[in-house]
């Protein structure tokens, strides 16, 4: 074997080592030196380089074990990585510079998002009296910045950046061109659907480096959940901060409420979306552990509630009262069930055999399907009776999409549990639905208002 062969093998080994979060670049350097020492000695003892490399790697033991030992000594590292500005470990300068630059770009994007929400005020549109404008545009203040950050990180190709930018412009047009008044239903559904549509545009930027790969689409689904978890955590912390700000300033006779409602809350909320996105990128493993735990915790509980509800419907023979709130409630219920399904899928090892949890999940999906069928029957009855409104039409459309998705999921899950199908099929089914959600959200935002006469 040529010396180049050995270098290539050591290079490959280093890549494996550096994938371990417990092992930093300096550790990898140190271990590499050790490996080379071992190889040199074995070569001197008469082994070929090839053999020596194999023996030396074998001697070092499994990386799992090695990184476990490192993690025991450096348990803080899993969190320390978060503080990407800290002094870079010797020999880690290249990676350190990169992560510091990422930090600065993120800070820039977050500041941009925070500033964006105050820009309309420069043109005389303050928060007071313009709630419709802000409701429709809220996602446009922050999501372009997050998409920009992700596109920068992925080094997105120019055509893709152009597509993303064009879609954001389209979103801006949809939010502001139609003459929607404060009491119109269309305004409400635009305010709900535009963020969904634009979030999926963020998804385009997220998968920029490999947009055809199903795994990347699944990563985006995971990213969505993790951003949500981080955002909630940041919001909780922000709430505590605001409570203390108000309390302490009041104690000295200063009333900070206006400053907080005009600046801290809106700017903080906009910036925290970008920060949450960055946190997920910088520190995936922490929340990767939270999402599955939440899923495992709540899947049985939700299954129990849904089954109880079905029993109650059966026993009392009451019809479901499909008012506007109820419609939204049942749509949200389906979204939650879908979320539980998605996050257990995203965290699951696709090669693991079916287990009890998969059966539980099937029960959850089936009960959700049964409830949704009842709701759908009600809605179609109402539509036939009173004619459509944008609200009902949107809710109905969502219901159908979710129903199709869940029915398909149930089928694939059943096949998987009966060992007739692969788990990966379920994963593919879910990722293929992402464009469907996007198309539907854009239809609601762009087509519904004119169709329903801006009602």
């Amino acid at each position: 074997m040529t010396p180049d062969g050995l270098e290539a093998q050591i290079g490959q080994w280093r890549q494996y080592v550096q994938r371990r979060r417990e092992l930093q670049t300096a550790d990898a350097d140190e271990l590499e030196d050790h490996l080379r020492g071992s190889v040199d000695e074995l070569v001197a003892a008469g082994l070929s380089e090839d053999e020596a490399f194999l023996v030396a790697v074998k001697r070092m033991g499994s990386l799992d074990e090695l990184s476990r030992e490192f993690a025991r000594e450096h348990s803080e590292r899993l969190w320390k990585q978060l503080v990407l500005t800290g002094e870079p470990a010797p020999g880690a300068s290249a990676a350190g510079t990169r992560s510091r630059r990422t930090l600065w770009v993120m800070v820039g994007c977050a500041a941009g998002a925070a500033a964006s929400i105050k820009v309309p005020e420069l043109f005389g549109a303050g928060f007071d009296g313009n709630s419709e404008f802000y409701a429709a545009n809220i996602s446009l203040f922050t999501l372009p910045w997050l998409a920009g950050f992700l596109a920068w990180r992925r080094q997105a190709p120019r055509p893709l950046i152009a597509v993303v930018a064009a879609l954001f412009v389209l979103g801006g047009v949809a939010a502001n061109v139609y003459p929607l008044t404060g009491d119109s239903q269309s305004l409400v559904i635009t305010s709900i659907h535009l963020p969904i549509a634009l979030w999926l545009v963020v998804g385009v930027a997220y998968v920029a480096d490999d947009w055809r790969s199903t795994r990347r689409h699944m990563d985006f689904i995971r990213f969505t959940g993790e951003v949500f978890v981080y955002f909630v955590l940041i919001a909780l912390g922000g709430g505590v901060l605001i409570a203390f700000t108000v309390g302490t300033f009041r104690a000295i006779g200063v009333q900070p409420q206006e400053f907080i409602s005009e600046w801290v809350v809106p700017c903080g909320a906009m910036a925290s979306i970008v920060v949450a996105g960055w946190l997920v990128e910088a520190k995936q493993s922490v929340v990767e552990n939270i999402a599955p735990v939440l899923t495992r915790l709540f899947t049985p509980l939700f299954t129990a509630v849904l089954l109880a509800f079905l029993v109650a419907v059966g026993v009392t023979a009451n019809r479901i009262d499909v008012e506007r709130e109820a419609l939204i409630l049942f749509d949200l219920l389906l979204v939650v069930v879908l979320g539980l399904l998605l996050y257990s899928i995203s965290a699951r090892d696709p090669l693991a055999p079916p287990g009890l949890f998969d059966k539980l999940q099937l029960a959850l999906v089936f009960s959700a399907l049964a409830i949704d069928t009842l709701v759908l029957l009600e809605i179609t009855g109402r539509l036939a009776e009173y004619g459509g409104t944008p609200n009902k039409a949107a809710a109905l459309g969502e219901n159908v999409i979710l129903l199709v998705n869940l029915a398909g999921s149930a089928l694939l899950l059943l096949r998987f549990i009966r060992r007739q199908g692969q788990f990966a099929a379920l994963e593919r089914w879910q990722t293929r639905h992402l464009p469907v959600y996007a198309v539907w959200a854009w239809i609601v935002v762009l087509v519904f208002p004119p169709v329903f006469g801006f009602a």
Partner: protein
């Protein structure tokens, strides 16, 4: 004979400090030295050695520097500190007590000669 894991772990600190008291050294050489001294009986893994070195560094018992000696690779060398030497002396006292006690016990019971650890 394989020395039990607990015993290896417990004796690792004084051994590393002892080796570094002879002069500054790096991971692979320390492992080799241990191998030599124990006649290959002490099976140290990298997973034991490097985290231990990092812990000793964190505690201030050793210092490390990246050095490039001419004709050699860039390496992380470890050097024992004053505090490390004090720790070594303290550990030595403790191990002497343990070893003396065991010797006392076993030499009284059997005639087989024992190898001291210290």
């Amino acid at each position: 004979m394989k020395v039990a894991k607990d015993l290896v772990a417990a004796s690792a600190t004084p051994m590393v400090l002892g080796i570094l008291a002879e002069g500054e050294s790096y991971g692979y050489a320390i492992l080799k030295r241990i191998n030599e001294l124990s006649g290959g009986e002490l099976a140290w893994t990298e997973g034991l050695l490097y985290p231990l070195l990092h812990r000793l560094e964190r505690l201030g018992h050793v210092e490390s520097t990246w050095q490039s000696v001419t004709g050699e690779r860039r390496r992380k060398y470890y050097r024992v500190t004053e505090q490390g030497l004090a720790e070594l002396a303290e550990q030595r006292r403790q191990w002497d007590t343990v070893v003396d006690t065991l010797k006392e016990l076993w030499l009284g019971a059997t005639v087989r000669p024992q190898e001291g650890l210290a």
